[in-house]
């Protein structure tokens, strides 16, 4: 088991490294550089700026400097907001994003799996049909489209919830719901079909033939097996969740990293884009890694398969 975890850890580091390198060279390959705005700067000013930001050094040197910086958690200065470092931007932005992310994740865990299991246990009866209809809609509709509809109904028409900003905690409700709906519905469907599959398995019949109580059969035998495919999909779900925050934060004006990301992209603030890419990827990769560990705990057969 330890070798499995170690392997996954190394993979994570390798992937991070690839992302950092790719991001760096991609950004530096953009023609024109960060200082060629719409208005051309006088060459001397441009040269001075470049020297200040070390852009006149050879590329490999810049790369190594950048790597060095990352190891010390220094992402460099912002090219747009002169005088501010990207670190400061990240420090400003991550609390709101973290709160949003945690709220969404809680919603997903609390609602997603139970919905699917309850649907499977009540197959073809009302709870099942209702769940299937809701989850089909929720899975397909993109989060920003859903955000539009929710914003329109709850904020504009009914005026129950604030349209934007997170001064009060109510401000987090609509965005986290928007983010969570897609994954909740996806996981519910997966949990349902997984549970139905499990219920059909021979070992469930064996469990019943032993005279065990219904509760024990479902929870001790059925649940763990059903959760295996669900856990596998959590990694992808998390990645989708994270990228969803970019748009949701923009729509709901949540002052988090996602919004910064979008601004940086639109304004071509390259260091910020690089840094935020790396930070986002890191978050996803760490989450996937944790999920991988969870997976090993749930399914003892993985030791066998991974050899």
């Amino acid at each position: 088991m330890l070798t499995y975890i170690a392997k996954r850890f190394v993979m994570m580091l390798v992937t991070m490294f690839i992302i950092i390198t790719a991001t760096f060279f991609l950004m530096h390959a953009i023609p024109g550089g960060p200082f060629s705005f719409d208005r051309a700067l006088p060459p001397r000013v441009e040269a001075a700026l470049e020297a200040k930001y070390h852009l006149d050094k050879p590329l490999m040197q810049q790369y190594l400097d950048y790597l060095n910086g990352i190891l010390h958690f220094d992402f460099g200065p912002s090219y747009i907001y002169f005088g501010q470092t990207v670190n400061q931007m990240i420090a400003d932005g991550w609390p709101a994003s973290a709160k949003l992310g945690i709220a969404s994740t809680l919603l997903i865990l609390v609602f997603g799996v139970p919905m699917g299991i309850i649907a499977a246990l009540n197959r073809n009866r009302t709870p099942d049909r209702v769940t299937m209809v809701i989850s089909t809609i929720g899975v397909v509709i993109p989060s920003f489209v859903l955000a539009t509809f929710l914003l329109y109904f709850f904020s504009v028409k009914l005026e129950w919830l604030p349209t934007f900003g997170v001064e009060t905690w109510q401000g987090y409700i609509l965005p986290s719901v928007c983010l969570a709906v897609g994954p909740i519905c996806g996981i519910a469907r997966l949990a349902r079909s997984s549970m139905l599959d499990t219920l059909n398995q021979d070992y469930m019949r064996t469990a019943e033939s032993k005279g065990l109580s219904r509760g024990r059969i479902i929870f001790a035998h059925g649940l763990r097996n059903s959760l295996i495919p669900v856990t596998t999909s959590l990694g992808v779900t998390f990645a989708a969740l994270l990228t969803g925050t970019f748009v949701i934060e923009k729509i709901y004006a949540v002052p988090g990293l996602g919004r910064y990301f979008v601004y940086s992209i639109t304004n071509r603030d390259y260091t910020a884009v690089m840094a935020l890419t790396i930070v986002s990827s890191a978050v996803v990769l760490v989450a996937v890694f944790i999920i991988d560990i969870l997976y090993v705990l749930i399914d003892p057969r993985i030791k066998l398969y991974d050899q």
Binding site: D202, T206, S209, K210, G211, L212, H221, D299, P300, R301
Partner: protein, 336 residues
């Protein structure tokens, strides 16, 4: 709790159907038999004969689409079909043990073997401590001749071979000293050398605990070796029933004769074609109104198409459902 003589199990006119999109599949169409304590009975038939469904019905372990549509089942004097859910669980837990056909999939893959045995022991008896239950589980594994029982207790099913898994199934089945053990094709998925061990295990269990054993199989050879009585099923009904010697040496049904002929002959190395009974099992959605076997029977007569034969007795222990046994037929000079 009433006792009715010595009979452990009484099944009377049992009918079970599966309700599917294509219609009602009558898997069991009137099955009646009794089981004494301590006897080993073999139930023989092809796939689709209803042999497994009969015993799933006895413990009411049918899948969702299956329903018992008629008849009576009495276990140790009690009406099984009228039992509440809890009474049924108790029946399954401590009175009846079942071993299923597929050892590869009948055990929960993410639960340790020991846990799967212990949970049965403690299901109705929380006063048994975990340690005591584990000790008993270990003893059970030894009873079924599993080496290094202590290690196997903590193993996962995927770490065991097919033969060992099947033995674990047996250990689980007898964990609470059941009065009846139902083994549904316990050796079919295993190779022949293991088969022998399993059969010896079965006989040993009966000898040690005086449990009754139902051995469901399609293999007459297995029956000959292990069983005292035999029930032959076809098309959801019992064709012939008798002591093992009667079935083999005084065979009274064309189907049984066909089954016997299908056993490959060790001495026939020459290259004659293997015998198989021509034809396919009947449709259970639209079962024939006469004898279920007539389309494949060499001796079929018009009466077989029109009327389902009753049982004719050849001895107190031997009966068969065949018009060839009708005295009217015999008296016209007809021979079996």
């Amino acid at each position: 709790m009433a006792l009715s003589g010595n009979k452990l199990l009484e099944v009377d006119n049992l009918r079970t159907s599966f309700f599917t999109f294509s219609g009602e599949v009558q898997a069991v169409r009137s099955v009646s038999f009794n089981l004494e304590r301590g006897e080993i009975v073999g139930v023989v038939g092809e796939s689709g004969s209803g042999k497994s469904v009969t015993f799933l019905s006895v413990t009411r372990l049918l899948p969702a689409a299956g329903k018992i549509t008629g008849g009576k089942v009495r276990f140790d004097g009690e009406d099984v079909l009228a039992m509440s859910h809890t009474e049924l669980r108790r029946l399954r837990n401590s009175q009846v043990g079942m071993v299923f056909q597929e050892p590869m999939t009948s055990l929960n893959p993410v639960m340790r073997v020991g846990t799967q045995i212990v949970e049965r022991i403690r299901a109705f008896n929380k006063s048994v401590s975990r340690r005591q239950a584990r000790a008993r589980a270990e003893h059970l594994l030894e009873m079924v001749r599993i080496p290094e029982a202590k290690t196997v207790l903590d193993a996962y099913p995927f770490e065991l071979s097919g033969g060992m898994r099947q033995r674990v199934m047996f250990a689980i089945a007898i964990a609470c000293n059941p009065k009846l053990l139902i083994a549904d094709e316990p050796t079919t998925a295993l190779d022949v050398t293991i088969q022998n061990q399993i059969l010896r295990l079965i006989r040993g269990l009966r000898d040690e605990t005086n449990a009754s054993i139902i051995l469901i199989t399609h293999d007459l050879g297995v029956v000959a070796e292990t069983c005292e009585r035999v029930i032959v099923m076809y098309g959801g009904m019992i064709m012939e029933e008798g002591l093992v010697d009667e079935i083999f040496y005084q065979t009274a049904h064309q189907y049984t004769i066909g089954l016997k002929r299908s056993i490959p002959d060790v001495n026939n190395v020459g290259g004659d074609r293997l015998f198989s009974i021509a034809g396919t099992p009947p449709s259970l959605i639209d079962p024939p109104k006469g004898c279920p076997f007539y389309p494949r029977c060499d001796r079929a007569m018009r009466v077989c198409v029109e009327h389902c034969p009753p049982y004719f007795r050849l001895s107190p222990t031997h009966r068969s459902m065949c018009w060839l046994l009708d005295p009217d037929f015999r008296s016209r000079g007809g021979a079996l």
